[in-house]
Symmetry: C2
Subunit: 252 residues, 2 copies
C-alpha cells in the first residue's frame, strides 16, 4: 500500500515508522516546514514536502496526524484523490472529511507518543471508525498489522476515550511534575520517586483503582491534610491538593 503522511509530529512519527517496518510504502511526508518533514521522511525512506499542493494524488492512504485545529484546513487543501483519508485524533469526529472525499476513517492509537521512545505496538488499544463497510475492512486490516487490540468505536465514544487519556496520562504526569517540586525543595533527585510511581502504576493491574487507593485523603486524616496544606505555598497547587483530597474521600 502506498501511503502519504500529512504531519510529522509524535503520532505521525511512531505510526509511519511502524507501518514502514511492516512493509507499507511511505511515499511522501508533508509538514509545514521541510526540516520537520525531512526528519520523518528520512526514517521511512519517503520524500519530504512542505507544499500541500505537491502531494501526489495516487496514494492508497492519506494519514493526517496534525493538530486538531488545523485538520480541517489541511483536508481542504489536499489535492483531490481516490485514496482513503484517515485521521488519528481523539476528539475530532469522523465526518470532518465528508465534505472533501468519499472514503475516510479514523485510526486512534490509545497511547502517549514521544519521539525516541520505543512503544510496544501490539499491546496498544487501537480504535477505528470508517465511512463505510468496505473502508472499515481496509482499516481493520491495516490496524491489525499494528496492534493485537483493534476495535471499532464511534466518534462520540472516542471522545470519552480521549478524556480518559487526559486523566490517565496527562494529569497523572502533572502529578509527577508536582511531586518533583517537593523533592527539589529538599534537594533530592526525582529518581527517589520512581519506585513509588512504578508500583502505583503496577498495582492497578491486579487491583481496581478504588482498591489500590491509599494515603491521608482516603482515611480523611484531617491532621495530615492540614499540615500538608500549610506546607504548600503556591495557592493553585494548594487548591489542587484540597480538591483531589476531598474527591478521594467522597468517591471511596
Amino acid at each position: 500500500m502506498k501511503v502519504v503522511f500529512i504531519g510529522a509530529g509524535n503520532v505521525a512519527t511512531h505510526l509511519a515508522t511502524e507501518l514502514y517496518r511492516k512493509s507499507f510504502d511511505i511515499i511522501q511526508v508533508y509538514s509545514r516546514t521541510l526540516e520537520s518533514a525531512s526528519a520523518l521522511a528520512e526514517r521511512v525512506n519517503a520524500i519530504p514536502v512542505s507544499d500541500i499542493a505537491s502531494v501526489i494524488n495516487d496514494a492508497d492512504l492519506y494519514i493526517f496526524s496534525v493538530k486538531d485545529s488545523v485538520l480541517d484546513s489541511m483536508a481542504s487543501q489536499l489535492p483531490k484523490n481516490d485514496g482513503i483519508w484517515i485521521h488519528t485524533a481523539g476528539s475530532v469526529p469522523l465526518d470532518i472529511f465528508s465534505k472533501y472525499t468519499g472514503s475516510y476513517g479514523v485510526i486512534y492509537p490509545f497511547q502517549t507518543f514521544s519521539k525516541d521512545r520505543i512503544v510496544d505496538w501490539p499491546d496498544i488499544p487501537v480504535f477505528i471508525e470508517a465511512s463505510d463497510a468496505c473502508t472499515l475492512n481496509t482499516l481493520q486490516a491495516i490496524a491489525s498489522q499494528l496492534s493485537d487490540k483493534v476495535s471499532e468505536l464511534s466518534s462520540e465514544d472516542r471522545k470519552y476515550i480521549h478524556l480518559t487519556g487526559v486523566f490517565a496520562c496527562n494529569f497523572t504526569n502533572h502529578m509527577y511534575t508536582l511531586s518533583e517540586l517537593f523533592l527539589k525543595k529538599i534537594n533530592l533527585p526525582f529518581d527517589v520517586a520512581l519506585p513509588l510511581i512504578d508500583e502505583t502504576a503496577s498495582k492497578v493491574h491486579s487491583l481496581t483503582p478504588g482498591e489500590a487507593q491509599t494515603g491521608p485523603a482516603i482515611r480523611y486524616d484531617k491532621n495530615i491534610i492540614d499540615k500538608h496544606m500549610e506546607m504548600i505555598e503556591d495557592k493553585k497547587i494548594k487548591e489542587i491538593y484540597r480538591l483531589i483530597s476531598e474527591n478521594i474521600h467522597r468517591m471511596n
Copy 2:
C-alpha cells in the same frame, strides 16, 4: 535481634515479613484486635497480642506501624523497656518518643504497600533518623538489610517526602479512578488504560516530567479543553479538570 511489632497493617506486614525473611526474630505482634495481630503473627512465626500491657520488655526493637493519630497514645501505653523504639510514619517527628524512652528512631520506606503485593525491597528508598549516633548506626545496619538505598533524613525533610508521595502515588491513583469513570461510561474495561498508564510511568525514567508532558492542556488547546469540560457532568471533577489543565499550562 528480637523484634516486637506494634501494629499489623500494610506497612507492618511488609516490614515484618521482610525482616523475618532476613532472619530477624519477630517475637510478638500487637494489634487492637487479636484477629488482625494473628494474621501477621502467623506469617512471621510470632505471638499475637491485643493487650499492650502484655508486650514483653526485653526485645531489642519495638517497631510502631500504626496510624499517626494513635502513635503517641500507643507509645504512652507501652511498658518501659531498654529497646530501640522505631516508627515508620512520614509526617510524625522523631521526638514523639522522647517523653517515653531514651533510644529511638524512624525507618521510613518510601513506597505504597498493599497486603498481598510483593514489593522489591532493595529498590525502595528508605529514610532513617535517630535520637543519637549509636542508635543511628543500628538503624543503618537494620535498614541496609532491607534496601540498597538507605539515607538519613530529618523529620522536617521527611514531611516533604511524604507530601511528594501523596502526589506521586495517592493523587496519581485518583487520576486512574477518574479515568475509569469515563471508560465505564462507554462500557469499556479499565484494562484499556493500562498500556497508557504504564508508558506514562515509564517515560519519566528517561525524561523529566516537564519533558514528558503531552495533551491538550500543555498546548492550551481551548477547543478540546472546553469540549472536555462539557462532557464532565460532575461539578467537582469538572473543577479538577479545569484546575489541573490551567496548572499544566502555567508550569510548562
